[in-house]
Symmetry: C2
Amino acid sequence: MRSLEQSANFSPLYQQIKDLILGSLQAGEWQPGQPIPSEMELAERYKVSQGTVRKAIDALAAENLVIRHQGKGTFVASHREDAFQYRFLRLVPDESQELILKSHFLSCQSIKAGEHIAALLKIKATDSVIEIKRTQSFFGKPTVFECIYLITNRFQGISLERLNVWNGPLYGFYESEFNTHMVWAEERIKAINADEELASHLQLAKGSALLSVERRSFTYGNKPVEVRVAHYETTQLHYFNELS
Amino acid sequence: MRSLEQSANFSPLYQQIKDLILGSLQAGEWQPGQPIPSEMELAERYKVSQGTVRKAIDALAAENLVIRHQGKGTFVASHREDAFQYRFLRLVPDESQELILKSHFLSCQSIKAGEHIAALLKIKATDSVIEIKRTQSFFGKPTVFECIYLITNRFQGISLERLNVWNGPLYGFYESEFNTHMVWAEERIKAINADEELASHLQLAKGSALLSVERRSFTYGNKPVEVRVAHYETTQLHYFNELS
DNA sequence: CAGTGGTCTAGACCACTTC
DNA sequence: AAGTGGTCTAGACCACTGC
């Protein structure tokens, strides 16, 4: 009973099932927003009990790879769904309730990656990447300046025009237009003094303190596909984090 | 079978069991670092199946309130254990492997809370709190300046001398000496320009960008008992966060 | 009403720790 | 060998959804 479709794998059964489901997700067998087969169906497919499939799916749900809906089914996580919109954004207004950011794209072009970005994206420094620059305003005040770097081959045909047409989170755009779903991300945060470029983009005095947030996002298979270097002006906002 | 010691509670059984265990933790029936009764014992005590107790404990383990050790038992989480040391610290060196901070306490006194701290600790602005100031050095360079505010009645008898004698994380100190275990925390992060006081503590030029991290820590029952206002100098270090 | 996920149980066996 | 948590199963029933 311990053997499986691919056996010779020594880990709990539910782990193996989880990995098989993960494989199907990565292969695109089930698309973001769509339901995966029911627990009963998966139990038959993998020849295990429903309880074991359940535990595998529980693990995937805990990692936000799928979302369960009682009575309806289990669905592949999608950044286009309300539940996952702005999932990676930890920016919060100090006072007012809701964060409303208005995006303004400045450029979108192909450039050489360079050492730093290349290392993060696990490519060569001489490889090209797509660079997008934008600012975001909070109640009319420019508050965020962002440089985004994308792996070239996954985002063929991206352009300033298409970015301007889209409204909603970029991660939804990546899913809809480039079949790329972001699974998790990591951020490295520092405080820096604004140089002249940053100061002008954010209409600040040179030297003003800014939050520098470097985010690296991963798709299925822990493949890094996007790096964002963001600068936040934090007099009206803050980065919020919960520690458990 | 749905009723229980205190019945009339409409939530899943395992939730009720979880709450009962939580109650015992809060009441101090089992101390940090010590084992709680085995799953079998708890199942008998609450008159439910072992599987239901298991699910309750799983939930507690997921929130880092207890830690499971196969073959040994389930233990109340303690900041004195390796697994939980520096659990709330997200500061990481850019290059070197390990973060070694040397603590230097500056003062420890009773002061009026003031509006801001009082609101965070859910006390009155005129109530007194204990204020501790310290710096921390990274390879000899002063890197962190921290003001810590503690609820007075939980930390009777704290003093600069006792702080200086203690080595190890402060949260372990709180547990050992004041019977107070921190369960979770939240942080609000901004970038600020160093004023003269901060600049002198950290041996920097006035106006240097610093990471301002305001942490609020909670004991059992979601009671806030500590606020830390920390300032990090982030040229060699960064705040690291994983998003899922 | 049928189908989905959610809860609960009882029992078997495995893996690790301690004596 | 005895006791702990960890896995797996099978089956019953509940709660929610949609036809």
